[in-house]
């Protein structure tokens, strides 16, 4: 399946079909991250059940140092 993650085209296995498993795929499931799926911000509790589909646009953001 093809996705656009943080502006980059990526190819991921079809077994990765939820936001939660996508985060696992990138080793991000233990990190504090916020996910936006097709311009819609996801609440943390919905990562488990939210599906990702071919062509989805995903933004994964986090907190970095700033003033």
């Amino acid at each position: 399946m093809k996705l656009v993650v943080n502006g980059e085209k990526v190819e991921i296995p079809h077994t990765v079909d939820r936001v939660h498993t996508l985060l696992q795929h990138f080793n991000l499931d233990q990190k504090v991250v916020i996910v936006e799926l097709n311009d819609e911000i996801l609440e943390k509790g919905s990562h488990q059940e939210t599906r990702v589909c071919d062509g989805d646009k995903i933004e994964i953001v986090h907190f970095v140092g700033g003033g």
Partner: protein, 255 residues
């Protein structure tokens, strides 16, 4: 106590988390500063480098209140999006509205700042807008319902200190919500002056992170803010044009 929305803080120093030499120094500086509010920015993650360490992971989050900023936003719409992203982390409901209108001076865009503040207040955020030292703009932001007003002392990261203490004192005088002097602080005396003018807090980053010894400077800022606050509460003496002797004139044993 510094009260912002439903929160209460003992410390009046709000510390930024950008540009420290390394995490170890940063961790120590944060600890020494006794700051309870830490600011962060929201950025895209490098998904191919998940193992990259992140300062947030090194913190005991039960001890700190996170104040994410909307830095990077040039419009109200972008600021609102960043604020919503930050809130979706489930870690915070406070937001520092920062909408930069000029890349050279990094001064905030007043119109977009107002718009973003209004929208985020409607959405239920605890909103702390970063603003210029414009007195009327500060009033308008308060009238919208902002939980604190954060006027800049001088441009971000410039270390020029308080360039317009008069405006700042007008802002402080008129405000019924906390006024936190944000940006431009260079030295402990700048921070102390802000507090002596009656500010409720000071937010700084580069003054500590860019110091030769950030840990020592964090301590200096903590002490300066405490001293400035005490001085404000104690009430300064009026300035006089000529001298007034501190020692009595009576009982002199000479002449």
């Amino acid at each position: 106590m510094l009260k912002i929305g439903s929160y209460e803080f003992k410390s009046r120093l709000l510390l930024g988390t950008g540009k420290y030499p390394n995490f170890e120094i940063q961790k120590e500086a944060v600890a020494v500063s006794k700051a309870e509010i830490l600011t962060f920015a929201v950025r895209r993650m490098n998904i191919f480098e998940a193992s990259q360490p992140n300062f947030l992971e090194k913190l005991d989050l039960s001890r700190y209140t996170l104040l994410p900023n909307t830095a990077g936003a040039k419009t109200a719409e972008e600021a609102v999006r960043i604020a919503k992203l930050a809130k979706a982390s489930g870690l915070c409901d406070m937001i520092k509205v920062e909408v930069i209108g000029c890349q050279k001076t990094l001064l905030p865009d007043p119109v977009e700042t107002l718009k973003a503040t209004e929208e985020l207040l409607k959405e239920g955020f605890i909103v702390l807008p970063y603003t210029s030292d414009d007195v009327l703009l500060a009033r308008r932001l308060e009238e919208l319902g902002s939980h604190a007003i954060m006027p800049g002392a001088s441009p971000i990261g410039s270390g020029q200190g308080i360039v317009n203490p008069l405006n700042l004192s007008f802002i402080i005088e008129q405000a019924n919500v906390p006024v936190i002097v944000d940006a431009g602080i260079g030295t402990p005396s700048d921070a102390a002056l802000a507090m002596e003018l009656g500010a409720d807090g000071v937010l700084l980053n580069t003054a500590v992170s860019g110091a030769k010894d950030p840990v020592k400077m964090a301590n200096a800022m903590k002490l300066a803010i405490e001293a400035g606050r005490l001085g404000f509460e104690a009430g300064r003496i009026p300035k006089k044009r000529y001298a007034t002797a501190s020692s009595p004139m009576e009982g002199m044993s000479i002449g």
